[in-house]
Amino acid sequence: MSNYALPLIWRKFPERYNLLGNKCTNCGRSYFPSRKICPNCRRKGHLIEEVMPKEGKIISFTKVFSAPEGFEEEVPYFLAIIELINGVRLLAQIVDNEDHKVLIGAKVKMVFRKISEKDEESPIAYGYKFKIVE
């Protein structure tokens, strides 16, 4: 059985496994996910690959009770905007938490988890989620 989404998922492995983004050597800003051009410097910008730091803090969060297709069985779960220690913000699921510990400002670190698995015959998508560190 062929799976047409596969090449798309596969190309995202470095991003999903290691938070590989990029950085502009002209203005020093980091981007995740990678940008094609630096929105700050435009044509003057020069982007190089950069692995994001794996620690950060929660900027805001929400508890999801009604999930999009494929994630229905995971509810309720926490989705948070995380600011990494280099200032880059990203959206990720928060795992392993006791509810009362999920707070704005809580320190988090990246963990490697299963993101989705359509059915028993599909490939498993792995990638980043975050957990609270005390």
């Binding site: 492995f13 470095p14 496994y17 290691n18 069985e73 995971e74 795992v95 392993d96 006791e98 963990v111 490697f112 988890r113 299963k114 993101i115 698995e117 028993e120 490939p123 498993i124 792995y126 989620k129």
Partner: protein, 351 residues
């Protein structure tokens, strides 16, 4: 590099998921006496993986701890083996996923191993050989499992999740425990198995004790000690495979090891049986508290059946090269769940 170079453990990492269920709560769900069961198995609670964890994610977390805590350049890892009996794919290696997740590829020898609960130590032997032969600089061997059990089967009281990663190398400044020798004892003994399309393993009940676990563990331990002219009194610690909390204590007794030498590496009472992880998570717990010159005997066991034995000698390097993620802290950092949540955790995404 000569073949005489000291080859040994240069780093290790462990991952134990934080969720725990008390054996008492599993027993209660099936109308059994939890106290009795806990006492007879010497197991009180077990570690439960979340629905989005599997042997692969556990292997990655353990591998990351090993690489980060011991400051190893992952690009210099030349071989990576993952031993498990719950590899997420039947065809498609776990090890290549781990390799990319810790950025060890693409110059990497890589394979998944299976030999029930001793696939992790089998990987250590392969890495030991490759490093000793000077074919690679570092080799990483991982044992990780999310053990599956049929609901209301005896295994449900012990089958747990967790894993450990060991990096084998020979840099004199990096080796924290030299591998003095390794030996395996193997026979065709069908005590525990799972056919390709079965969800859960089957076992031969009481047959898993004497002719299986004890025969192999005791034989491997005795033979490696004989071969090296060593005796139980020469060791500071002994770590056995630990399908429950009782078997290792009895094995220690038969081999004349004092209880205090086996207890530091006996974790099944607190986290359950982590299968491929069981003996090597125990070894990590012992390394966490080891001092230079300590002698450690490690004996794994895999159904089907075989035991891998290792004699390890801790070096001075352990004073400044140690794990920042102690096994004890991971055991103590826990969140209890009840039986209903336990079923949900394990079943939401089938591992």
């Amino acid at each position: 590099m000569s073949l005489k170079a000291k080859v040994g453990i240069v780093g290790y990492g462990v991952y134990i998921p934080p969720y725990r269920i008390k054996i008492e709560d599993i027993a209660k769900a099936w109308g059994k006496d939890g106290n009795d069961i806990s006492k007879s198995l010497n197991v009180y609670e077990k570690a439960v993986a979340d629905f989005d964890e599997d042997a692969c994610t556990i292997a990655v977390e353990a591998a990351k701890n090993a690489v980060n805590d011991f400051n190893i350049d992952a690009q210099k890892i030349g071989a990576l083996y993952v031993g498990s009996e719950s590899h997420p794919y039947a065809v498609k290696p776990t090890a290549s996923i781990v390799g990319d997740a810790i950025n060890a590829g693409p110059d990497l020898m890589c394979a998944d191993l299976q030999f029930a609960c001793k696939a992790g130590t089998a990987g250590m032997q392969i890495c030991y050989g490759l490093v000793k032969a000077d074919l690679i600089e570092y080799g990483m061997a991982i044992g990780a499992d999310t053990a599956q059990s049929r609901p209301n089967d005896a295994l449900e009281f012990t089958a747990a999740s967790g894993g450990a990663a060991f990096i084998i190398g020979k840099n004199e400044e990096e080796v924290i425990a030299e591998i003095l020798d390794t030996y395996s004892y193997t026979t065709d003994t069908p005590d525990f198995w799972r056919r390709p399309k079965a969800d859960y393993p089957s076992h031969a009940g009481r047959f898993t004790g004497e002719p299986a676990y004890f025969k192999h563990v005791i034989s491997a331990a005795k033979k490696i000690m004989e071969k090296n002219n060593l005796h139980s009194k020469d060791f500071d610690y002994v770590v056995f495979h630990q399908p429950n909390g009782k078997f290792p204590l009895r094995a220690a007794d038969i081999l004349d090891f004092e209880k205090k030498k086996v207890e530091p590496g006996l974790l099944t009472p607190f986290i359950g049986n982590t299968y491929s992880g069981a003996s090597i998570v125990g070894l990590a717990a012992v390394l966490d508290i080891s001092k230079p010159e300590n002698m450690i005997l490690l004996v794994s066991y895999g159904s089907g059946a075989g035991s891998d034995a290792f004699i390890l000698k801790v070096t001075d390097n352990i004073k400044n090269r140690y794990s920042k993620n102690k096994v004890k802290d991971m055991i103590n950092s826990k969140v209890y769940i009840d039986y209903i949540n336990y079923i949900k955790h394990r079943k939401k995404i089938k591992g």
